[in-house]
Subunit: 501 residues, 2 copies
């Protein structure tokens, strides 16, 4: 409306809010870590499965965690037939769809692993992205808690395989059935009318799951009348009486000096509850199987304070925590915290088929685990910088390409400078930006004498900022003149010496 | 409205139309192939980049190929701020956005590779999916055609690295500048008024790109008045006169017995056109660089019939074709066809910044290349079936888990049967479905004697269908009784013999 249209509007070169790009080493490190994880999963007999990013909204269902938070949700839209499509928000919902769809063709039990991005249409925040990787392993169709014990032990093997040393992690196990038994004892679960108090139980579950963040007092408030947070927002409580709340608080605090003592404490708490006793017996079996594998309680322990926020768990639940200290942005010491969680969910496939199908599994938070490895200096897969063949004579590109090809054929990453070769200093700055270990130089003089110059860039990096000409460059101590025929051997040797030094 | 609501509606266990799931070996083979491709890209100095699946619709732009086809498009929706978001339809548009966004921090030239799914909101068809993988390598910021020559040679190395033998592929190269020169000669491009005839040139471009499908007569019709296809649909033609069309047809047919002769034919066709002469000179340089690398015209050839459908190419274009014959579903012999394409696009970054940035690259059609490798029996990465430890006594799960753990520690994929162990035949059918090489059996009798039975399942598979009991099983010839202490060595030997046999 009357606007001048002098310039066409240019699009903004920016990713949408809550999304990010991963460059070079970030991609290589993640792929290296995922490769190690998948190798462990495969060794346990898990097979890869890759589903599409897009599912029908109907198939995904509404199983997002933290449903009490605003803006929680999925990216969804209608297609040309007006059907709702959505991006997957985890890897479990697609697995349930796949198992229901192919159940007659899949082996039973079906052990599958999956790696890939998931999407959450949530308010982005610092370090909180709307696309992130998960890496899951699940066993579908195995009713025995031996499957849960296997998953817990596999998780310890996985963490050690990627470089988290023993002593720096612990896998905590609990059982929703025990919690249900405790709820019975507290009078918020009536086995003869299982739907009654469902709303209150949801609040109890989410309250326990927030113990780390809110502390005992915060959880206690949520079990009772409710809680006002620092911003003044009020969260509704479960409305439990003091006596009822005390039973739940005792449950959260039921971890004892060892697993056997914890099991006795839990048995006391669930009293005569049938589901509670079943849950305690399952934990006992899992603990025995884990111990029989030689995995001590320093690595896998029973911990009643772990409940997991998701509503769909029906039995054992797991959480892997890294126990070493880090310092946050304000310099405060804190523990690294959870990098993986999971549990048994016997109802997800039933949504599709009407028949209950037992299932259990874990999901690894890939970005968090990778951050932990970086913290420990254990992230692998770093891509070495390429040898850069500089261009002294732009008519001799074929010769420079031949040098790079010879180096590559010997397994050395190498490239020819393809920018404007006019300013030699720019070629050196480029090599620097590429973290190149060695630069190769062959000007007309070198060509005539059958030699090339090779330059140790790690050694020379401190001086490079001041170099403008080829002659300055030649004067540097980290440079060697070698016979052209010895290029590959000499470059290999220079890289080896730089790595050793 | 009056419907009975006896049952809750269950979601359908099915993926949306045009999407598919990839199981086990399909995932493993693709990952193995992508790993090989990325290794070649990295050896040439390309660094990985991973952007999110979601971009602003604005940043993606409208560069989809085949814009003359109905239903072409992207998956897009508005977010809570009413901004349009979309799933990327290729890996080039996100690269242009990234380069524009980070251009001051990235090395220049920037060689990057990217691997991942892309999405097209198109009508699905047989073998035509709405999510598929691409694997791209691009050099941004290099004006020299040495960058194009490098990409073409790297493509040959890549195809050979994944298992396409020399002789079974050819990389064809052309140059849009030559085509523009020919358009000038034909009178559909006026250098003093470049926007004139743009619509006609678009039709010419897409017509040439369809040569494979439509043949000479079909293209000729599209250059003139237009073409009615078998279904009766009419496609508008470029409206060229017979003389004009003859120039274009001569261009498409300008490939001669060798590159030098082809270059002479092209020089004749472009006549005095400045851009045309520049294009011919570029092709000459590329041909010389490729030849200097020792890559013959059997592997990289000049072919004027290659133009690529995308409107954004500005210089050299590439296409890799597999030249071996396959038989289609109707038993007709045909060539496998194109598995990769690309070219120079100097305008994509300019969309964002206003400054032209030279860029060139290729995209590999991952699913098509993998299909070709399967056709040739060259797909790698197959995951071996796991050794299955059967469960004869459900109270001794810990012992069975220990056996599987010992095998895994020796690098052998192994798992314990976790279904209902009551029916031994079912355990064998499970091992069969898992393509297990060896089953391990330890019943009470074996346990008492300190032995286990191991069974060569490849050998025994033919008989397995009729086995119901443990005794039947023991009677099979492919079974051995071994000392429990020798489990790992004996299983390893059995697998080795099965592989050798």
């Amino acid at each position: 409306m009357g606007q001048k249209n002098a310039k066409p509007q240019r699009p903004k070169a920016i990713q949408p809010r809550g999304f990010r790009d991963y460059f070079g080493a970030e991609v290589a490190e993640r792929n290296a870590m995922l490769g190690e994880i998948c190798k462990v999963y495969e060794s346990y007999g898990f097979d890869p499965l890759e589903t599409s990013a897009i599912e029908t909204l109907d198939a995904l269902g509404k199983y997002l965690p933290d449903v009490d938070r605003p803006n929680a949700g999925v990216f969804a839209w209608t297609d040309e037939d007006e059907d709702w499509l959505a991006l997957r928000y985890d890897l479990t919902a697609p697995l349930a769809r796949v198992y229901a769809q192919y159940r007659n063709d899949l082996p039973s039990p079906y052990r599958r692993y999956a790696v890939g991005p998931v999407w959450r249409n949530e308010k982005p925040g610092p370090g909180r992205f709307r696309q992130f990787y998960q890496c899951d392993a699940d066993t579908v169709g195995a009713p025995t808690v031996a499957a849960d014990a296997e998953i817990a032990v596999m998780l310890t093997d996985t963490l050690e395989a990627v470089g988290i040393p023993r002593g720096d992690y612990v896998v905590r196990i609990n059982n929703r059935k025990v919690l249900n038994g405790v709820m019975e004892a507290a009078g918020v679960l009536d086995p003869s009318d299982p739907d009654r108090h469902e709303h209150e139980r949801g609040i109890v579950l989410r309250a326990i799951d927030k113990l780390d963040r809110l502390g005992t007092d915060g959880v206690r408030a949520l079990l009772g009348k409710g809680r006002k947070d620092a911003s003044g927002d009020f969260t509704e409580g479960a409305g439990l009486s003091d006596d009822q709340a005390a039973v739940i608080m005792a449950f959260m605090d039921a971890r004892r000096e060892d697993g056997a003592a914890t099991l006795r404490a839990l048995a006391d708490l669930v009293g005569v509850s049938e589901v509670g006793r079943e849950g305690v017996a399952e934990l006992e079996t899992i603990a025995a199987l884990v111990a029989a594998r030689g995995v001590g309680e320093d690595r896998v322990m029973l911990d009643p304070s772990v409940v997991r926020g998701l509503g769909y768990y029906t039995g054992p639940v797991f959480e892997a925590e890294l126990t070493f200290d880090i310092f946050d942005e304000k310099g405060r010491k804190r523990q690294f915290g959870s990098v993986s969680g999971g549990g048994r969910y016997d109802g997800l496939v039933k949504r599709f088929t009407g028949q209950a199908v037992p299932a259990t599994g874990i999901s690894i938070g890939v970005d968090r685990l990778l951050a932990a490895l970086r913290e420990k200096g254990r992230a692998g897969g770093a891509l070495p910088g390429p040898v850069v063949v500089t261009v002294m004579d732009r008519d001799r590109m074929a010769d420079y390409q031949a040098m790079a090809a010879e180096l590559r054929a010997a397994g050395i990453r190498a490239e020819v400078f393809l920018g404007n070769p006019g300013n030699f200093g720019k070629q050196l700055k480029y090599a620097d930006a590429r973290q190149s270990p060695v630069a190769v130089i062959e000007g007309p003089d070198e060509k005539a004498r059958g030699v090339v110059q090779i330059k140790d860039l790690a050694l020379g990096a401190r001086l490079a900022a001041n170099i403008e000409t080829h002659d300055d460059w030649k004067a540097q101590p980290a440079q060697m003149e070698i016979a052209r025929a010895d290029l590959v051997d000499q470059v290999r040797g220079m890289i080896a010496r730089a790595q050793a030094g």
